[in-house]
Symmetry: C2
């Protein structure tokens, strides 16, 4: 009997009605002759609520206690979903991360899985029961409860699929799949029937919200087939698969955008070896997550370094840069929050020259100025003004022939 | 260093402000030179909320899943309290029932402790940390999460005090202690500085709401000193101790009342051996919890049997009685919900004759009719009309010299 992993995100189980709908769907899957293992996130916004509560209670929030607190959310959801499954005639048992056999490191609030011992899951499946696992949780090598971090439920599902040799792993969410662009910006955006791991990784890194990047990396490494689909329409979504070298590839598969970042520029930096290393080491030491980095050609022994950071980190990043600028004799630090990144992604790019040129032409044709550029083998990203991003995405979506045919 | 167990009920940790107040109190206790172990219930009405949610989700609610669900409540409270303790400089670690070493039987929703292995608690104490234990939970011999039932946090606290050989166990609640009568009915009711286990057990069985009876039984069996006190005023409350035969005992220590029961009377019962046994066996088989039982003297070969049951169980009890009455040839079954029980309790009653007579005289003097009487060595209970119970309690409280001196 094929074994299928079904993971349901927070919006999929946000209230009692939704939990019953999910139970109905799991029951349908079982009745069609599958063995099913379910992974569930906390209901709706519960994780945020728990974090808010912690903030109200204390300004000191040890990771061990945050993990104990947050994992209570999935615990509720998994017990309730089991009850709903029983009421539609499907025997089911809930399992905490610890009970499911997830051994993690001791890195609280963002633990990594070190081993999965799914003995209890196997026993439940053999007894004809549906295991319902609390997502994103485990027990550390120190026997403490750990949380795998935001998006960790996707990782739980992929790891279970790998360990139990499931056929595939379905990630149910509140959107019908992965789109060629954000449908809120591009009405003609299309659901992609298929996307390669490589492309999806570039997409999640550039503003496409689902699924969690870490889980896609795990899925690629372990060869777990993912199916991103809707828990509201229950229609087929997007399959995430190994790139098939024999199939003809679209040059550009999707256009993504991201308005969550800000740009920092350090000007008049003496062009000496080791300066950039020092800057980004200091930013890393204060946990600022630097994304795009562009350094201009040196002009008369000085250069400008620009980079993007999450907007939340901008004050901290600016502070670090100002200290360093004074130290190394740079002339100034400026920052800009009103930027956006637009990216085109496509596995076919590798064998098709001229894609970058076309992208810049399309943006130029729209009168959109490009402030920064960065590329990978299958992605080109441009930083533009935030208020021009919608037009940028739409024009690129049309130019690369991604628009749905009416 | 003396080891003290402090247990906080739901109202004591109902919101972030309350959790911080509790943390301050634990910190004070630590700074006065005590080792402290904390047991905490779910916040406010959270347990009720979780049960309501389960009811909305499913009409099938397996005990295993209910326990998984409900124990999420204490998990939240204990993690939050730990954070609040850290913020006032007290290192603390939360422990689930399982982590604290509570091994229970597999009787879900109302599990019994079979063993306590407090190794992790001991280690935390030795490291100078305050363990904060989720109340009312454990792990079964089948490795499933179990709930000890309502009031189970008191039991957790008493068991921990026994296992770790604590000095005493403080049960913090929303009232300042145990009173000579319900202060809402009797404005002159006094807080009792001391009460014996025996008396308190009779009091909790007759309408005095706190603490949970099972925990008092455990405390008596294990010789754990209890201190019932307020988490709002933080003033000394009521000590629950072994009866001291050398001290002079009040004849009557308290007057309690209970309006949660109903009376059932089966009339014209043939006075043959085995009839009563059959009646109460059938009631027990459908889980109706019978309390007071009174059988009148046989009159011409027939007798009346009256008993009280929780009002919720009245329809079921009446049904059982009607079936049996037809079967054995009894003449009728009547029921009455508008009753109340008033009880006087006192360890001194054993050596003082005439207490019952005085109780009946006081009630007669008030024109209050007694419908049923039952007694134990240290308690006398009378069933009266519900609308007369307030007057009954007040007059007995005055007559037995329990009123506070103004």
């Amino acid at each position: 009997m094929p074994l299928v992993i079904q993971k349901f995100g927070g919006t999929s189980v946000a209230d009692p009605d939704r939990i019953r709908e999910v139970a109905d769907h799991v029951a349908r899957t079982v009745r069609r002759g599958n063995q099913v293992v379910v992974v569930v996130s906390a209901m709706g916004k519960e994780t945020d609520e728990l974090i808010r509560l912690a903030t109200e209670v204390s300004d000191v929030r040890p990771g061990r206690e945050m993990d104990m607190l947050i994992t209570a959310g999935e615990r509720k959801a998994m017990a309730l979903l089991c009850m709903a499954l029983h009421s539609v005639g499907v025997p089911a048992d809930s399992f905490t991360g610890s009970q499911a056999g997830f051994i993690t490191d001791t890195n609280h609030t963002n633990a990594k899985i070190v081993e999965l011992r799914p003995d209890r899951l196997r026993k439940a499946i053999e007894a004809g029961r549906v295991p319902v696992i609390g997502g994103a949780q485990g027990v550390s090598t120190d026997h403490d409860v750990t949380f795998l971090g935001r998006g960790g439920s996707d990782t739980t599902a992929v790891a279970v699929c790998h360990a139990l040799e499931g056929e595939f792993c379905e990630l149910y969410t509140d959107v019908p799949g992965v789109f060629t662009a954000d449908p809120r910006l591009v009405p003609k955006a299309r659901r992609m029937a298929k996307v390669s791991f490589e492309e999806l990784l570039e997409m999640t890194a550039t503003g496409c919200p689902k699924p969690a990047m870490r889980s896609v990396e795990y899925a690629r490494r372990w060869g777990v087939k993912l199916h991103v689909r809707s828990a509201f329409t229950w229609e087929p979504g997007t399959w995430v698969v190994e790139e098939d070298p024999t199939m003809e590839q679209a040059i550009v598969s999707a256009v993504t955008h991201d308005t969550s970042e800000a740009k920092v520029t350090v000007s008049g930096v003496p062009d000496r070896p080791g300066i950039a290393a020092r800057l980004f080491r200091e930013l890393a030491d204060v946990d600022v997550n630097v994304d795009m980095i562009v350094q201009n050609v040196s002009d008369r022994g000085v250069t400008d370094i620009s980079f993007t950071v999450p907007r939340n980190d901008l004050p901290l990043a600016t502070q670090v840069c100002q200290r360093l600028a004074a130290d190394i004799g740079a002339t100034g630090v400026s920052s800009d929050s009103a930027i956006a990144r637009v990216s085109i992604i496509g596995a076919g790019m590798k064998s098709n020259p001229g894609v970058a040129a076309k992208m810049f032409e399309v943006l130029a044709g729209e009168g959109i100025n490009i402030e920064m550029i960065s590329t990978s083998a299958i992605r080109i990203s441009c930083v533009v003004r935030e208020d021009e991003v919608e037009r940028a995405v739409q024009s690129l979506h049309t130019a690369f022939e991604l628009d749905a045919v009416a």
